[in-house]
């Protein structure tokens, strides 16, 4: 155990602070090999992580690096540096603290490697880079502790895998390294503990007092929410009223586009000119920083935001969190609610605003789950191989290595502990030669084996290329948006390249809360002009569409079993009663399949409650089967709970369509050429180092040098279908965007029990789907036809048609 030196406890008492029980516990248990601390935001969590370090360093005896702090955000590292400075300066502790992120100058970075500070604050990517240098062992000599902040956020992504692989390296340099993880409330602390510990060491789990139960409710509005859509415009006056009644309100949205539209509407209704800002990942980082600073100074009454504010700096003044749209995932909701009232022992206050009628039900289910403390888990694949491939390349950058040693080291990472040797060897083979069935250019392999059996880079210069492309964050290709004629002026933000390509001059869209007019593309920058008068055309740039979690879906199905719904607003309860009278309500062990005519088409709606991605996949598979069976499907639309399909011929036998074997067969053929697969492949191939985003000499400026990753995907599929990266891609898509696992779950759950309701008209539950956006037409031959019509029309109107056929 570590005792708190007198100077530190004195400093606490001069500030009128006392040590929280969990901070005391962290001190007492500082010698355990791994400790996971779970505490709500504002519980002095970071201080708890650093107290043992401060105590240990207070006597000034330690030489070199003592504690490494890793956070998912650069901004957080900078903020922690400021926060640590206060006690260090006021107590005059002999401690040097520095941060190291992508923004640190290269001269400083170089110096840090030779002469590291006592406490180094960094990100997983910067750490991976440090580990890739030949002098890494020297830099980290004497390292005693590593503190991973917001580890729950890293656990959800490949950044966490990369971090843990890098830690395995550090543990080899410093066998007595102690690991500390700081986490918000999570469903399964055991899983994070397993990730954190050096396998097979045990991991100690400390739970801080969770504090008072949060005060959460649904926002009551006189007007019922609309039948579909995600704007929640109906609630603007009520939200504005809440902003007036509170000091600072955070208004969370699930997508950036929704945040933009909501902010726009909020601003139009903001008669009193309350200071309201917008914050999301597509905005320029200077603009985001300005918003954050204004927030810290208490200048803002409300911030419309997305997941970009899920993590980060403590803001004591937030006293209300509003979630617009169903939260989709209870764990994220609880973490967002934690953003309000960062003072210990004050209840967080939050309001849920359903954006449409179905979301009323979803919000109610989320409220109940939150009260019950029932959080949903993730089924993220463990130990992804593309990250391992990158780690092997990083290891090679640092110097020659023996495969056996590296394999042993990797097995100390919880999520890779069960990795079979054959899988490791396949990754090593891929890194060395590309792993192709055809050994075409063996003399140019990336890694070669030395006579002593160790592996090393064939060409030492390739280390620079590997370092340039390090990391697992997949940015879509983004283009900066700038006002025309403001050369060197500040960019407004970024949009996806695909979105920019869909714009024609004159189109308007929302960015940073203002409407701009697209003028053109110049030097990889989208040029726009201000445009105040028109309704925006679109704001569809990125923003993840989360799927409703399995656990929340089950809760909704359980609610449907109730006789009555006294907790729901009358308009929603009446709607469910009507559905039960006209048709049926979906039940857990059955699949409700409704068929009805509408507008001259045959419609079918199946309520699978499998989440948006799986329902979308189901729509694609079923329409494909329908086409094979001559049922003339025309299109479909999917939501988190149902898929609505329309076509020319009514479906009489849904069981035939939903035959599991048939679906699986269809999946194989369909998956192959699917866009989802190509998108997954692009990410996998980039992380595994096959595709280089950055090349020496900078981005090729629109020249013909680069070609799309789709070509690589098609080529591999054709000539090397068993290639490692194709397998990884397939596994990932199946678990993620294709989400076939949840379709399998659904089929197992219903065991062929399908309730087929053949009705005369649209049912109350299906009606909102007719209004959903994002309808998918059944393509194929139709796409070529449409393209031909378009090109012929262009030829005619331009008068070139006559010319061409001279």
């Amino acid at each position: 155990m570590t005792a708190l030196p007198e100077c530190i406890s004195h400093w606490f008492s001069t500030r009128g602070w006392s040590i929280h029980p969990h901070q005391q516990a962290m001190l007492e248990q500082a010698d355990r090999p791994a400790t996971l601390l779970i505490a709500a935001t504002g519980g002095g969590k970071t201080m708890a992580g650093f107290l043992p370090t401060l105590a240990d360093l207070a006597d000034g005896d330690h030489e070199g690096l003592h504690t490494l702090y890793v956070s998912p955000l650069k901004a957080l590292a900078a903020d922690i540096k400021r926060n640590l400075r206060t006690p260090i300066d006021e107590i005059s502790l002999p401690i040097r603290v520095e941060d190291r992120t992508g923004d640190t100058s290269s001269a400083r970075k170089k110096r840090q490697r030779a002469d590291p500070p006592h406490i180094l604050l960094t990100t997983p990517e910067s750490l991976a880079l440090l580990v890739s240098y030949a002098d890494a062992a020297r830099t980290f000599k004497g390292l005693k502790r590593v503190v991973i902040d917001e580890i729950h956020a890293l656990a959800d992504s490949k950044r966490g895998d990369q971090l843990m692989l890098a830690l395995a390296r550090l543990q080899s340099f410093c066998p007595n390294l102690r690991r500390v993880g700081l986490s918000a409330t999570v469903d399964d602390p055991g899983a994070i503990a397993n990730m954190l510990a050096c396998h097979p060491d045990p991991c100690n789990i400390l739970q801080a007092d969770p504090g008072p139960t949060p005060d959460i409710a649904m926002l009551t509005v006189d007007q019922p929410p609309p039948w579909s859509g995600g704007g929640a415009a109906y609630a603007i006056p009520a939200v504005l009223e809440q902003i007036k009644q509170h000091k600072t309100t955070l208004i969370f949205h699930n997508t950036r586009a929704q945040a933009e539209i909501f902010f726009h509407n909020l601003w139009l209704a903001n008669d009193e000119n309350l200071s309201i800002a917008i914050h999301h990942g597509s905005l320029d980082h200077q603009q985001r920083e300005r918003v954050e600073q204004a927030m810290v100074r208490g200048k803002l009454r409300a911030i419309v935001c997305t997941g970009s504010l899920d993590l980060g700096i403590d803001w004591g003044d937030v006293d209300l969190v509003i979630q617009i749209g169903a939260p989709k995932n209870v764990k994220r909701l609880v973490q967002r609610i934690g953003r309000a009232n960062h003072r210990y022992n004050a209840p967080s206050k939050a309001l849920l605003v359903p954006a449409n009628r179905f979301e009323v039900v979803e919000c109610q289910a989320a409220l109940e789950a939150t009260h019950a403390g029932d959080l949903d888990g993730d089924t993220r694949p463990r130990g992804p191989l593309d990250v391992l491939c990158q780690h092997i390349l990083i290891t090679a950058c640092a110097g020659p290595f023996a495969a056996d040693d590296l394999f042993q080291e990797i097995q100390t990472v919880g999520d890779y502990a069960a990795l079979p040797r054959a899988a490791f060897d396949a990754c090593l083979e891929y890194c060395a030669t590309g792993g192709y069935a055809l050994k075409a250019y063996d003399q140019w392999q990336r890694l070669i084996q030395r006579p002593d059996g160790q592996w090393q880079l064939r060409d030492p210069r390739s280390a620079a290329r590997i370092r340039m492309n390090l990391g697992t964050i997949q940015d879509a290709d983004l283009l900066k948006v700038r006002l025309k004629h403001s050369r060197g002026g500040k960019p407004l933000g970024e949009v996806e390249e695909a979105f920019a390509a869909s714009l024609s001059p004159g189109d308007t869209f929302l960015i940073g809360g203002r409407i701009v007019r697209y003028e053109g593309l110049r030097d990889m920058t989208v040029e726009v002009s201000r445009n105040a008068n028109r309704k925006p055309k679109v704001a569809v740039f990125s923003g993840t569409k989360f799927a409703t979690s399995t656990q929340l879906s089950h809760r909704i199905l359980a609610m449907f079993k109730q006789e009555d719904w006294p907790d729901l607003p009358a308009h929603t309860a009446d709607w469910l009663h009507l559905q039960r009278r006209v048709s049926d309500l979906p039940r857990a062990g059955h699949l409700l399949f409704e068929s009805f005519p509408h507008d001259g088409r045959a419609y079918s709606c199946l309520y699978g409650f499998a989440g948006r991605n799986a329902q979308q996949t189901l729509g694609l598979l079923l329409t494909k089967r329908m086409e094979d069976l001559g049922l003339d499907p025309l299109g479909f639309v999917a939501t988190d709970y149902a898929t609505l399909i329309w076509g020319l011929t009514p479906i009489s036998d849904p069981a035939q369509l939903l035959d599991p074997n048939g679906l699986r067969d269809g999946l194989d053929g369909w998956l192959a050429g699917n866009q989802v697969m190509k998108r997954s492949f692009r990410a996998v191939a980039t992380i595994a180092g096959l595709i280089e985003r950055n090349q020496p000499g900078g981005r090729k400026n629109g020249r013909q040098a680069t070609f799309s990753s789709d070509i690589l995907y098609d080529t591999l599929r054709k000539y090397d279908p068993d290639h490692l990266l194709l397998k990884v891609t397939r596994d990932e898509a199946m678990a993620g965007l294709v989400d076939f696992g949840r379709i399998e779950d659904l089929l197992t759950r219903i065991q062929g029990r399908i309730t087929h309701k053949q009705l005369d008209q649209v049912t109350p539950l299906a009606a909102p789907l007719l209004l959903e956006i994002g309808k998918v037409p059944v393509k194929g031959a139709a796409q070529e036809k449409l393209l031909q019509q378009e090109t012929e029309a262009l030829m005619r109107t331009s008068g070139l048609a006559a010319l061409a056929s001279d």
Partner: protein, 216 residues
């Protein structure tokens, strides 16, 4: 095979969906920018190990085309090889395929910036080559007439679909790249939009060639 025949400098030429140009009167097949050996050169220069199948794939598509059309002669408009060493390092199988193609008919290699020197694959080498009213070269010139070239790998975008495309005006035709591992330069790029006349067409490749006024 669906085709798009069009008049050019007193001849009738046909754009094929594969990105090849067919001069039926002369039984002449023209393709551009094969970039054979691209993945080998990429790896040699320290890049990632790309799937080494593009040469095989490009040659297989070219063989199919030649089997289909039985041309009397073939012109490759340059950048046929990603570089000289890439040509030397081709697999024995790919070399045999290429020899077979080249040795059975008159074969004209136009030299390109990637392959400025003659290589040992038979055929004849030219910087520029003329036949009838047409001139074949690697890079289009601003004053040229009846000129057929490659180099730029043009592509065009219509309705969210981007495809390699032929660019055609009164004086010149620029072919899309035929090689499997080739990207493209959008025809809205100033280099191409200033080179091409106002009435230029872009002919999108694909299952059927689709002509449109060249997007600018």
């Amino acid at each position: 095979m669906t085709t798009f025949p069009f008049p050019f400098s007193g001849t009738t030429l046909t754009a094929l969906g594969t990105g090849a140009l067919w001069w039926e009167d002369q039984s002449l097949l023209c393709i551009s920018d094969l970039h054979l050996g691209k993945s080998e050169r990429h790896a040699r220069r320290g890049g990632g190990p790309l799937p080494p199948y593009e040469t095989k794939d490009t040659l297989a598509r070219l063989s199919d085309l030649i089997d289909d059309l039985c041309p009397k002669s073939v012109i490759c408009l340059g950048d046929s090889f990603d570089d000289g060493a890439a040509a030397q390092n081709m697999t024995a199988e790919d070399c045999a395929t290429l020899h077979h193609l080249v040795n059975h008919r008159p074969w004209i290699w136009i030299t390109g910036n990637h392959d400025p020197q003659p290589l040992a694959f038979g055929g004849t080498y030219h910087h520029r080559y003329s036949q009838g009213p047409l001139t074949f070269c690697h890079i289009a010139t601003s004053k040229g007439s009846g000129e057929i070239s490659g180099h730029y790998h043009p592509k065009a975008r219509i309705k969210n679909t981007t495809r390699p495309a032929f660019l055609v005006d009164e004086h010149r035709i620029i072919l899309p790249a035929f090689g499997t591992y080739t990207g493209g330069l959008n025809c809205t790029n100033p280099i191409l939009s200033t080179l091409m006349q106002p009435q230029a067409l872009a002919i999108l490749t694909g299952p059927r060639p689709l002509p449109v006024p060249m997007p600018r």
